[in-house]
Symmetry: C2
């Protein structure tokens, strides 16, 4: 069953918290610079300190790509440090025509072996299809994102509903194997509640609490409602909780804080 | 001026042809396997044989990412082989919230130093903004793509117009620095003609002729019309024209064929 690994990880840890491993180089504790790969060392310590609290880790490829080929090595080596039973998302938001989408699916599900990847739905079904063919792998398609730009297209009216609603309708139709989830920003509280009620069977990945300012109460309500697994991602606010030698302990504390907060 | 480098390259070579360097490993001539990096050798020979015919090269990141960190080295080393006066597009179709979009913009325009990147507009203005701040760099945002999935969202009705038209309207509003172009698939002939007439000042990147079956006549008409520079991309049909020792000569022949054909 798809999303089964996620459900098991949530149950085991009693936690819906996903930690975003987005190691912006300029924010990494300076003392780590003595290590050969400070980013990897940073990720390693965060994972070690939080892996019993985080049911999932999400790696945004933007923060690795910027480091060139070395960044992709760090990406790969970070994945190897995550416990087997923890759910892993490549937050790559890829989108392309079938032939190229196939390469992306193979990259993340085959080469890197992550459990899930985020995708951008603008190019339609055949841009997602290659990802859906991987057994035991899931995708999260962007529905309503946490940024201001969500207003430009996602929230416009398309014949009596909003574009993101049409996206969710289509995702539901395409979800025959049960391996499609949706990204809904925590800053979109009004829509989040509606989506959870109308599409209870679509797993949600919710970024936007913490640094982006989304409401934890809205998110806790979404988690409490009956339905598919809900993942709440926090990145900066957890991983950069501290800046000294004890930064990992600070991250753990913040992770525990969010884990509890999400229980409502 | 933005897109100035592209206009100069088109004028110098008398060509609107962009060659897509999408080196799917399984299609590379087998004899190249004796080289340390067959993909780089392949790209090198294609560039050497076609750089007076192609006004631009487009590298789809999907075909490099699948090779892991080695693929990104090949990506970087390929860029170094392209003549200075040739326009270079990273076909990465990235999209993310501002903080992550900034990393992507820095990756492609800063670290890799390409002239242009493709982006997915679904997340709205602030997902494109970090790219727009780079002086002398351009973006191409997806409008109507060449795949069947274009029907799912891009071509739906949003209050008397199609979604892609709204995207173009917004792109026009945001295009204060003149560095925003649009991707319009050659398979979308009807829309291509309309876009060229209604948005003559938006530079177009047109994929979809060759392997994807778009009409060369439609595209030639778009080029001939007065307006911003038009780039037509062909990938597989040029780079995999041959499979033997003389594959680069075959690619050159195909490139010349398309260059002429695009003159209508």
């Amino acid at each position: 069953m798809s999303f089964a690994k996620l459900s098991a990880s949530i149950a085991k840890r009693g936690s819906n918290l996903c930690i975003g491993l987005d190691p912006a180089v300029e924010k990494i504790p300076p003392f780590l610079s003595r290590h050969e790969d400070p980013v990897l060392e940073f990720n390693s310590r965060i994972i070690e300190a939080t892996s019993d609290v985080a049911c999932a880790y999400k790696l945004n490829t933007a923060f690795y790509e910027i480091l060139g080929e070395r960044g992709w090595r760090t990406f790969r080596e970070t994945l190897a440090l995550i416990p087997e039973d923890t759910y892993v998302i490549a937050d790559c938001k890829r989108s392309d025509v079938g032939n190229s989408a196939k390469q992306y699916a193979e990259t993340f599900f085959g080469y890197f072996g992550v459990d899930s990847a985020t995708v951008n739905p603008y190019m339609g079904y055949d841009s997602l299809e290659p990802f859906l063919g991987f057994k035991g792998k899931d995708i999260y398609a962007l529905a309503v994102t946490s940024n201001k730009g969500a207003n430009d297209f996602q929230l416009i009216d398309v014949g009596g509903k909003k574009l993101y609603e049409l996206v969710l309708e289509k995702l539901s139709q395409w979800n025959t194997a049960g391996n499609i989830g949706a990204v809904v920003g925590a800053t979109q509280g009004e829509y989040l509640a509606r989506i959870r009620t109308e599409y209870p069977r679509i797993p949600l990945l919710i970024p936007g609490i913490g640094a982006q300012g989304g409401s934890v109460e809205d998110v806790a309500r979404a988690i409490a409602a009956e339905g598919a697994p809900v993942l709440v991602n926090v990145s900066r606010d957890v991983i950069f909780a501290g800046n000294g030698e004890d930064f990992a302990a600070g991250a753990r504390e913040k992770a525990l804080y969010y884990k509890t907060l999400l229980k409502g």
